[in-house]
Every structure is written in structure tokens, then in C-alpha cells.
Symmetry: D2
Subunit: 313 residues, 4 copies
């Protein structure tokens, strides 16, 4: 273990920790920033009625390769259109099932997904997340909290690139530069859901997933923790598998920005968002803000949820 | 088989059939009514920023009892907070999985869920829904289509009841009476998502599920097919397991309204919606309309999807 | 906690503990008693070639009711005989899947299934059984160990009963009485696989499972731990869900005989064996010994396995 | 379609078809050859008590790669040794689950696994295998039928090779040559379970699975159908994923020997057997016969079963 890395994580965690900020019983974290007033204002951003669903297809052609025990969704038919069920008057039915890791495709990380030295958000013991599920901080505790103003930060495009190279760390200057380049509609403030586009998914959709899941990736720099904290976002999401840059910047570390954001800041993280069509549209009309609605399935005790977020312009 | 029942289904199917209405290749059915213009107008209904998530909890305490092969969601931890994963610097993670019928809880029925004499929406062969999934009319084909104006028709409350008794058929007069009682905000028109409350779920949440899943229920009368067609709804949903009244009204029939609405009219059906909190709020402020967003998971070839719909007032 | 119960468990554990008996690295426990020589002798017991498969059907009509998170096997077709797969020359195929708890039906409990004060067989830490599976004492470590002499002890019949009442504790005297009643072929010795019939399953097969899974049951008395130790059995099995008598005899205890047998003695336990046809045959010819072969599926890191044991006479 | 291929399959099917041979209701096929008398004789082959379990490990490192929708077993813990369950007196438990294709690892193909022009064994309609499972010819119908004399035919070793190259067809002459080379104990007769070793699995265990599952492979020639019929085997098995040679010999065909053996002859097929340790032992003592016991899990309506066969010498 590197003392320097420990120290960097520890200091960032202390600077951005929101434990107790919304009460000792709080399980929502920064989603508390998405207040009713802000939701009303955000709904006014619907100007043309174009809906952009941001989920990738949930199927066997997905990005997972078995790493970290994650696999692509397994869909099965309980009965189908070829079965001759004994039903009257010519009616027929089909039913189906799915088996999937909640982290396999487009998803929210719940606040129970990541721990910092045995603790999760609001100081709770990591062991509250047992085989029986998460006693606290489960995704069902924020079932109704994912609506508000969304902002796309198309960092790749703002740099004139189709996609950022794996290993590219997106720092505070990059985010601010992107906002400046994109103009007024891209200003980021309290209670916003910010979607950062690296373009990596676009490349994968064109060329194949390759090592997308768990592999090297462009992503947020560890150094953005303070910016995320200062901006008082409701949640953050990217078009990569794991939000932060990989390989990680701190020596010998594994996803240190997760370690700061989820258990300390209480910031929900969205991953594997397909931002391609939305980004094209935003580049075309110059409007980077929209109404954002991304309801999780309230699976009791779950540490995440598959989602199909809507950006509505 | 009863000739009379066959005839009733056949005639209703012919009167309300939308095959070809939006082109031979269409897989969206009446969701085509939810146009961008209507979405813009619907977003203006967000006035207070209150969000009502309409999903029931997805867990082993759900309504399923094994009937029709349906069971409650099975959640498992891939790794949890008690595991001692070999990760550096005090970081820890939890991941999880779910196995569930797509029809087990709050859900959309896709247009490939039901067949009429071997055909599904737009005249396609039911055998296109094989063990490999639905080649057409799968839920992924309408991934971005579930946003628009929502209207709650609280039929139980409009009759001064906590809940309608199982077997109570809700007819056109009941729906129109409810609209009249609820006032202007409850007027129903083209492209609306209409949520009908019978109160049965409220009773189950208080008293236990009992025979909720697959059992007797209040619900829409077979006779409402023409009303639903005339109103040009985007989709219909209820707080019961199967939308229509059970036992079914036509002799020897099984879910005949499904047989008309899904394969013929191309109307998506929502089931097992928890409308209790929303209904209380609407009764309190007299406003029965809202922005409705209910994104399905785009599971490729699926004949339905679990959802957590948001009604945003 | 009752000091008396603690003391009883602790003393029995110490009297019967086999840690180190077959070396510090051993993961087989008493299966070590089933030596090649004994297997040769046991094979000689095949005299008529009648095979008795001892598994119950693995399907949705099984005994599980959701207690302890256990459910019945969920079988699904990946593709079936009605699908029109694009295969040449008239060939067709069907494939299928199963999702099941490894403890849902006829099964072996692995030595990693049960812990005594944080320890499992041979002194290993219970935390070696994490969400990633059992690092030691998993069922795959004894993949080839379940063959040898089998003996049926039909305790119910030896008492002139169809089945023992729930709550009936089978003590050492009952076992010895049964052996005496059944005669020479029922003598029990080192390396034997002993199958104890209470008749409870026979009653359930006639009358329905009711509370079979996890409910009150006849079964081995806590007091038989020493007899089982002295007899040097390879493994023990019963026709009940949990081998030992329920309610348990020791005050405030839960499955204390498991706590002695699995983590301390290292004795594998078989449960939910269907002994009905075998028992009828043994009663008819007076021969209670046979060749017993019950291979587990070598699921890596599993704490048990579904099985279909064969008693071959 | 090639008329020549059609004709070859059709003629072999007619020459070897066993429909009606054991009655119109029969669902056992050639397992009927494994009579009680032969089981008694086979048990006498247990001479040293060495048990060879023939299953590969059931885990994520298995051979499946997603082809044909097959994946490796997914093992999950329902609760584990790190959970702090509220149990008295220091007892703890772990439970687990598995989700797997029944065809993913060492397995029996049931007679409902393969169809010939819409028919399965004994003339039954393929559509009897619907999403609800196999109404006839399911694996549960032969739950107690897999015991008898086993014979290893180590074709690779008989040719002085570690393993046969993919695409190598093993013909009747190869089988007879192997028997002659191996000597008296390898003579094959009515009711035997014959295990054919190509060595391909040995190579995969040394070098990685690569394209093992569904890929090119050595295996039985289409021409062996008559030999298998004449020999009146109980069942056949190999150490490859699909028993017969791949690419298939007949033009434009897919697994034509399956098409003859399963639906016409009624011969169960075993696949992905690990014969390495057994083969080494047989080469060392020159004894190629043994008692063979391979109980399937009686999963109701299943078209196959995972197994852990025992060869007991």
C-alpha cells in the first residue's frame, strides 16, 4: 500500500463527505439537491418533445465478458407464440424472464455499492450489505428521486475528437472548458444530473466492445471530486463502464473516485449510458440541457439498478 | 367454444384494429399518438415538482404465487460488504443479480405478449415470438416511447369506495362518470396515458396479496374496447394484475380485452401499478393530470418489461 | 442464550470432533472411511440389479415455500420443439436451463454448509465461504467420494408405523432397535452410508408437502451424535428436509446436530431422500443393504449439491 | 438442401429406428438394454474400488462461450459465512444457488433434445417439447436407468496419439481396431455404456478451451450409426462437446448423427466427459471395463441433465 495514495483518498473523502448533512437517517445523499422547485424548472426545458432513451440494449451482445463476475442479461421465454397453450377463443400469450447482474448494462450505482474502510454513506457499516441485501442505502430508498435538470457535457466533441483515448483523465479544467465551449445551456448547478460523454461508447458501438467492461477507459480524474462537491450535483453519469479514468491515477489504487463519491459524498453514479444520439442532437441545436428522468427498479436491498434514462428536450 | 363469444371478440377486434394505420412496418401501435407536441404540452403539467414512483417493491414479498409460472423477483449478491475482497486502500464493493419474470410486478405488456388467432399487432405471425424472443413487437422497439400526459381515473373514489369488489366491470359509463366527477384536469384525449385505479392494490397493501396475482379482480369491461379506441390513448394501465375484470364477462373466455387491445388495437397495457399515493394527492388538490414517464428496460426481444413509472405533478 | 444448551453443543462437538484426523489439509471428513476396499465389498451387494433412484422430482411442485429464501427449481427452455430454427435437413433441437437453490430438493450438505462459532470442518474460518463461494470444504472437493455400502434404517416401519409424527426424536436406542429388527443385512459399520426413513416424505407424497420444508419433522435426536461418531459412518441421510428432529430438543437451539456433525465431525448430510420404493423393496426381501452411489455435481465452491442417489440391490 | 444428404440421413434413420421396439409408450429407448441381469454382472467389475468421477468442474471457467445461447454455470450465495445471521448458540449456515444451461458441462442429452423432421423418439411430435418442457421423453423418465457396464474406448491412445485432430472422423474400423488393441476387457456388447476418448478434452485442459464448445472436433463418424445399432449399446458418450465429428461429414449438414441416434434409435448421448484420469488408469492396468453409474437429476420435462458420472473399477 502506498501511504501517498491512502492520504490522497483520505483527504478528498474528508473534504467532500456529506455524512449527516441531511440528517442521520438520510439514505438519499446528493439526490436531496434535486428539489421539487428544481424539478418544476427542469420540466420547462422540454421544448421540442424529442425523447432520447439512454440505455444500451439489454442482451447477450452486451459489453460484459465475465470480468468481476459480471455477465450479459440472459433472457428466456416462459412460454412463447409457438406453444399451443390450452386457451379458449384463439387467444395466446407469451411470458418471459431475465437473469442479470444489476451492474451489467446501463445502471445506477446505489450508495450501498461501494465502501470506504468498511463504511458506506452516512457512516453505516459495510456489513449491513450482506447476502440478504442492503439493509440501508439500497436503491429502493431512492425509488422516486431521479428526475431533474440534465446537462450533457460532451467533452470529446468539445476537444474536437470522436472519442477520448483510454487513460485520458478528464479534469476540472476540461469540464469547465467544455461548459464554456457549449455555452449557457451547459452551465452546471445545484441539483443537476450531469452526463459526461467521452465518446468511448460510440467507438465501441462502431467497432465492438472489446475490453470496454472493466478495461482501460477515459473518465473523470480523481481531482474532480472537489468540483463535483462544489457544484452540488444530484448525480453524475458517463458513457463508460466505470465513470472514472482507467488505469486509475493514484498509485496502486482501484477506482478511488468511487471511494470518495459513493460512500463519502453520497453521490449516485450512472454508468454505461448511451449518449450518442443525444450528443448529436445537442451539437446540432446547441442546447445541452433537458429534462432528465431515470427511474430505478425498486429492487429491495439492491446495490444498483438497470435503467433506461430519458433525456427529454 | 361459444360461438357468441367468438363473435363478440371478432367484431370488437375488427372495429378497433389498427393494423397498417402507421404503416406496415410499425411496431409502436397507439404509442404513435404520443407525439412530440403532446410531450411538450404534457411537460407543462409539472407544477409542484412532486414525483410519484408507481412501482411496487420488487422482492420476495411480491404478489406472485406461482400461478402461470410467475414468481417473485429473486435477488442475489455476487459479492457483499462482508466479503474480504483483495482490494487496495480500504475500498470495497458489492454487486448483485436479479432473476425475475418480466411480468412479475409493475410492468408493460409489449405488443408481442398477446396473440389473436395466431397473429400479433400489425398482422405478424405469433410464431415470430419463439424461444429466441420476439422478432417483432418486442419491448425494445418502443424503448423511447413512454412519455406524455398522464391522467388518473380514480374510479373507486369516484364511486365513494375504498376499492371495487373483485368481479366489478368498469364500463364506459363508469369511466365517463369518473371523468365528470374529477373535473377538467381529468379529460382524456389523444395520446394520453390513462391510469385506472380500482383500489384493489390498496386493499392488498393493507391486508396482504391473497389471490391478487391471477385471481378475481375489478377491471375494465370488455365493452370499453371501443371507448379506448375512440379516445386514441397512448397506453392504458391499472392497479390490478391483469387490467380487465375477472372473472371475464364473455362466456368461456380468458382475458378477451387483452385479445382485442394488444394484437388488434396495438395498445400497450400497464399492470400492477401502485396508484395509492398518487390518488391521495390528486384527491387532495383536485388535479388528475401530470407528466408521465415510464421507460421500459430495452431487453431485446422481450414481451414485456418491469418498470418504475413516474407521475410528476 | 441458554448456558445449558451452549454447554451441550460444546461438549458434543469436542467429543466427536475430527479436525486433523485425516491431516490438516483434509476436506473430506468421514468420507475418508469409504475406502476402496469397502467399495469393492459394497459392489458385491448388487444381487438382483434393481436400481432405486432416490431423488424427488425437481420441479415447481417441490417442497419449498420460500422459507429461508429457498424456492423450487425453475426450469426454462432456451429453445424448444416448436421453434423453427434455421437448421438443415429436418433436424431440430431443444435446450434448457435451470435456476435453483442447491438445497431445494434431494441434496448433499457440503462441509462448508454449516459453521460452529465461526469455524467449519478442520478448523477453517467460516469467512472462507464468501459471496465468491467456499474456498475450502466445497462440494467439488469430494466429487468422487460418494460410493460405498448403503444401509436403510426404516425406523418408521420397525415401529409398525407408516410415519413418525413431527417432533419425534430418533435416539440411539431407536436406531439399534431398528437394526435388530431388520436383521443382519442392516448392521452398520465403518464407511457405511446410512439412510434413515421416518416416513414423513411418504406422507407428504400422499397428502401434499404442507410445511415439510423448514417445518416440524421427525428426525435424529441430538443424542445420536456419539453413535454416529462411534459407528464411523461415511455419511448420513434422511427423508426429511433437515435430518434432525424439529422442534429441536435443546432449549432455544436451531439445528444443533448440524452444528456438531458438519463443522466438527466432518460428516456429510443428505436430505430430502425419497426412500419409499426402496423401503418397500427392503421390507419385501428383508435385505437392507445395497451398493450406494450418489455423485454430487462438482459446482466449484458450492456448499451443497442436488443429487439423484442410486441404491442398487 | 442436398438431396444426397437428405437421403443418407433418411436411410440411416430407417435402418436403425427403434420406434415401437419396447412398446408404443416407451420413453427409455436403448436404456432398455441395461437389464437388471447386466447390472449385476457389471457390479462384479468393481475390483479395486477406485472411483473416477467424470464431470468437469461446473463453474465460470467452463467451456461455454455463448454459442448456441449456452453459458457457463452461474453460482451465487444466498447467504454465506461472513453474514451475521441471527442464529443462536454460535451456529451459522451458508446456502447457494446455480443458474445453468442443462447442456453447459458434463451431461446427458435426453431423447427430447433432438428431432428428425418434427418427430422425436417413438414417433412423438416435437411440439410436445414446448416452453413448458417435454411432455414425453424428458430426462425424468429415465431417472433410474443409468447404471451398467462401462467400457472406455481410448481411440486416441490406440492410435499412439495424445489427441485426435479436430475434423477426425472415428469410423467403425477405428472403434473395432481400438477394441482389438485394448483386449478382452474392451469387448463391447448389449447394454453397455461406451465412452469414447478422442483426447480433445485433455488438450483443452492443458491449453485452454478455445473453440471447444461448438467448434471443430474429432468425433464419431456418421457411418457408425449402424455399428452403434448392431452393438445394442445402452448409451454412448465422448469427451467432446457434441459426440460426432465436426465439421460434419455430410454436405450442408448439422449434427446428422444426432438426428439418427436420439430421435430414431432412442440412444442417449453423453457429452463433455472428462476421461483423462480414467484413461491413464486403464492404460496402466489394461482393464477397460468398469461399473458405470451416471444418475441424471430428474428435472421434470428437461431435455437433458448435468451429471457427474462415476466409473468404478
Amino acid at each position: 500500500m502506498s501511504t501517498k495514495t491512502d492520504q490522497a483518498i483520505d483527504e478528498a473523502a474528508r473534504r467532500t463527505r456529506n455524512w449527516g448533512r441531511w440528517g442521520e437517517d438520510d439514505e438519499r445523499g446528493t439526490l436531496n439537491f434535486a428539489t421539487p422547485e428544481r424539478i418544476v424548472a427542469a420540466a420547462r426545458l422540454v421544448r421540442t418533445g424529442r425523447v432520447f432513451p439512454l440505455a444500451i440494449p439489454f442482451d447477450q451482445q452486451g459489453p460484459q465478458s465475465g470480468l468481476h463476475g459480471r455477465f450479459n442479461p440472459i433472457h428466456g421465454m416462459a412460454f412463447d407464440g409457438g406453444d399451443q397453450l390450452p386457451l379458449p377463443h384463439g387467444i395466446g400469450f407469451a411470458d418471459d424472464t431475465v437473469f442479470m447482474p444489476l451492474q451489467c448494462a446501463t445502471q445506477w450505482d446505489a450508495l450501498s455499492h461501494c465502501f470506504d474502510r468498511g463504511r458506506m454513506y452516512n457512516g453505516r457499516d459495510a456489513r449491513e450489505v450482506s447476502s440478504l441485501g442492503a439493509r440501508h442505502n439500497g436503491i429502493e430508498k431512492v425509488a422516486g428521486c431521479f428526475a431533474g435538470r440534465g446537462v450533457l457535457l460532451d467533452v470529446a466533441r468539445s476537444k474536437g475528437l470522436d472519442d477520448l483515448a483510454p487513460g485520458t483523465a478528464i479534469g476540472e479544467a476540461d469540464l469547465e472548458g467544455c461548459i464554456t465551449a457549449q455555452g449557457d445551456s451547459a452551465r452546471v448547478g445545484t441539483g443537476d444530473f450531469v452526463l459526461v460523454r467521452t465518446g468511448q461508447m460510440g467507438r465501441c458501438l462502431r467497432e465492438g466492445w472489446g475490453g470496454f467492461a472493466g478495461g482501460d477507459a477515459p473518465g473523470l480524474s480523481f481531482g474532480t471530486a472537489d468540483w463535483l462537491h462544489r457544484k452540488e450535483l444530484a448525480a453524475i453519469a458517463t458513457d463508460t463502464w466505470g465513470m472514472e479514468v482507467r488505469p486509475n491515477e493514484l498509485e496502486d489504487s482501484f477506482q478511488p473516485l468511487h471511494q470518495v463519491l459513493l460512500p463519502n459524498m453520497g453521490l449516485h453514479i450512472g454508468e454505461i449510458f448511451d449518449l450518442e444520439a443525444l450528443a448529436t442532437d445537442c451539437a446540432s441545436d446547441g442546447v445541452y440541457e433537458f429534462f432528465f428522468v431515470a427511474p430505478p427498479l425498486p429492487i429491495t436491498g439492491a446495490v444498483g439498478s438497470p435503467i433506461n434514462p430519458y433525456a427529454i428536450k
